[in-house]
């Protein structure tokens, strides 16, 4: 089992005729994901690498029955692509594009219909190991298991998942929620989904400086609305104030958004916070298989 995505998900790729879009469409298909085709306005009717191309998402959905879309279109057009997918009735939209104007996202998020879930933008996508991969993640590092992973980062997540897999700890679903200030799905949303997923026994949460998404997750725990064990890691503890640390959203503004505040919030909520990614497998093993009382 998994959240958001499983082996029945049918995926279309918006921007499939672009270099990135086509490359990752093929990689996702190799992983075993049901990639039914793609969308590029004006190129409907073409076929690229055996993927049929449609002019609009609504035509692609009608003809393929897709319920998931992944977006690789350039930043100026990406918010439009998100809303096109949602408007066409696509239930899960993962937007990989980095560099979308924040105001475009403010408007897009405000206009999303209630039934649509957006992952990202500026995210690596998500994977339910052994079922489907929708994103740019390297499929070989993942293994099937009962730990959910949710992260604001990309490569750091692969690193952590790789450590988990090597330690024999498999994953239910791994979600990269993205590094931008305005994103569709936040930690709290993923925790709520993991709470309901019987196949998830514990969660690794990878946060970073900026915003209050981690604090919000901590208060969900404090309120008792999440019952499974959580291990967290917060990146950017050494970040100076006022600098965007690679991600547009990773910035300490004044005294808000610091790693210290986030670590403190998690510790108050009873979450184990790892000092280094290397310690995560050990901490998760302990919460999954606690040492017997002496």
């Amino acid at each position: 089992m998994s959240i958001y995505l499983d082996s029945k998900s049918v995926v279309i790729v918006q921007g499939i005729t672009g270099r990135e879009g086509l490359y990752h469409a093929s990689r996702m298909r190799e992983y075993g994901t049901k990639v039914a085709g793609g969308v590029t306005p004006g190129k409907g009717g073409q076929t690229v690498d055996k993927f049929p191309v449609f002019d609009t998402v609504s035509e692609a959905k009608q003809q393929t029955g897709a319920d998931v879309s992944i977006i690789f279109v350039p930043p100026p057009f990406a918010a439009d692509a998100i809303l096109e997918a949602a408007d066409a009735g696509i239930a899960l939209v993962a937007c990989i594009t980095e560099g979308i104007p924040v105001h475009d996202m403010l408007k897009a998020v405000a206009s999303l219909p209630p039934g649509a879930r957006l992952i990202g933008p500026n995210c690596p996508g998500l994977v339910s190991p052994g079922e489907a991969l929708v994103g740019i993640m390297p499929g070989h590092v993942f293994s099937r298991g009962d730990v959910g992973v949710v992260s604001r980062s990309g490569t750091l997540t692969y690193e952590i998942v790789d450590l988990l897999t090597r330690a024999g700890i498999g994953q239910s679903t791994c979600v990269g929620i993205g590094g931008d200030p305005i994103i569709g799905t936040v930690f709290v949303d993923c925790l709520r989904a993991f709470e309901k997923d019987p196949a998830t026994a514990a969660v690794v949460l990878v946060g970073e400086i900026g915003g209050t998404d981690e604090e919000d997750a901590a208060s969900l725990l404090t309120r008792g609305e999440f019952s499974k064990p959580v291990v967290a890691f917060i990146g950017g503890r050494s970040a100076p104030e006022g600098k965007r640390m690679g991600h547009a959203g990773a910035i300490v503004s004044g005294s808000s958004g610091t790693a210290q505040a986030k670590v403190a919030a998690f510790e108050r909520a009873g979450v184990k916070v790892a000092d280094s990614p290397a310690h995560i497998p050990d901490l998760i093993s302990k919460v999954l298989r606690p040492a017997p009382h002496p």
């Binding site: 390297p138 990309g154 490569t155 690193e159 970073e208 690679g246």
Partner: protein, 381 residues
Amino acid sequence: MRLLEYQGKELFAKAGIPVPPGRVAHSVDEAVAIMRANPAPSVVKAQVLIGGRGKAGGIKFCSDADDVVAPARAILGMDIKGEIARSVLIEQRMDIKKELYLSITVDRASKKPVIIASAMGGMDIEEVASREPSAIAKRPIDTAAGYWPFVGRRIGREAGIPIEALAQFAAILGKLYALFFEVGAMLLEINPLAITGDGKLVASDAKVDLDDNALFKHPEFTQWKTDAESDALKARAIKAGLGENNYVALDGDVGIIGNGAGLVMGTLDAVKSAGGEAANFLDIGGGAKAEIMREAVNIVTSNPNVKALFINIFGGITRGDEVARGLITALDGGKWSKDKLVIRLTGTNEREARDILESNGIVAVDTMNEGAKRAVALAKT
């Protein structure tokens, strides 16, 4: 992209928000000319992005052209917490009776713009928030409904803005709101928003943070880019095809290259844990080719503070052999020596990568933490 005060005030003035009469000078001669054209009691303000310029001596007063020489000379070129004042704003002094606070910012939690106002202006709003939270009114804006003056009047009442200033306050907020959307701002802040002796509201300071990702919609702001942003290495990274945030300058002596912002941040933290400080970092992004890696090494090591270079790569889409090849090319042609280098490289094509490195006399370390420790030690030798 943060704007200097005078640039922010230029935006404000165009948007119809009252600002004091003033002009910017980049030299003492310019300052003298400005005061000669308009000899009135004035204030000379260092144009820097960093806060706390007043305490650092970056704000002085003058009353005529002779009088401006000393303050202009003192401030131009002044180092304020590491930032050099390259220009001064010379503004007429105002008779200020009261100081208010007003800002609009992107609120990540509500995913909406949020208006913050207070009758206690002139000090840091976070300080007000912790000392007297009831003195602050905060209201997320429903972007669908847009701005309506009644919202401004209501926020003004909640913030304790004096009744007689309420209509002006609501009008200025309306203009600030329109400007916020027009320029795609992350933050517009007026602190203080002054009430003058004759009851007028005037923006006494201007803090503007624009969204780098939206600058393509506003080519008119590129003129300010050089003034507000003087980092040549960042410019080089952007020229190499990397994003606005991929290169960041810091204060230490370890240069860092990694792939992916989260991994780079983790690397920085590991360096810090090992007792070191990063000099800068560069994120080569996903799937980088040898050419990008070569340029990355050249950019990061061009910073004269860099004593050791730590490269940390997790090969997912990025292929280790491309990284290794790029690194070797950079070392071959460049001025950087492999003795001041630590590399950790794992994942896709790790074997091929290690072969390339070892045939060039470089042995990769196995973990991030180990690499961080070595790099910090190297920087200290």
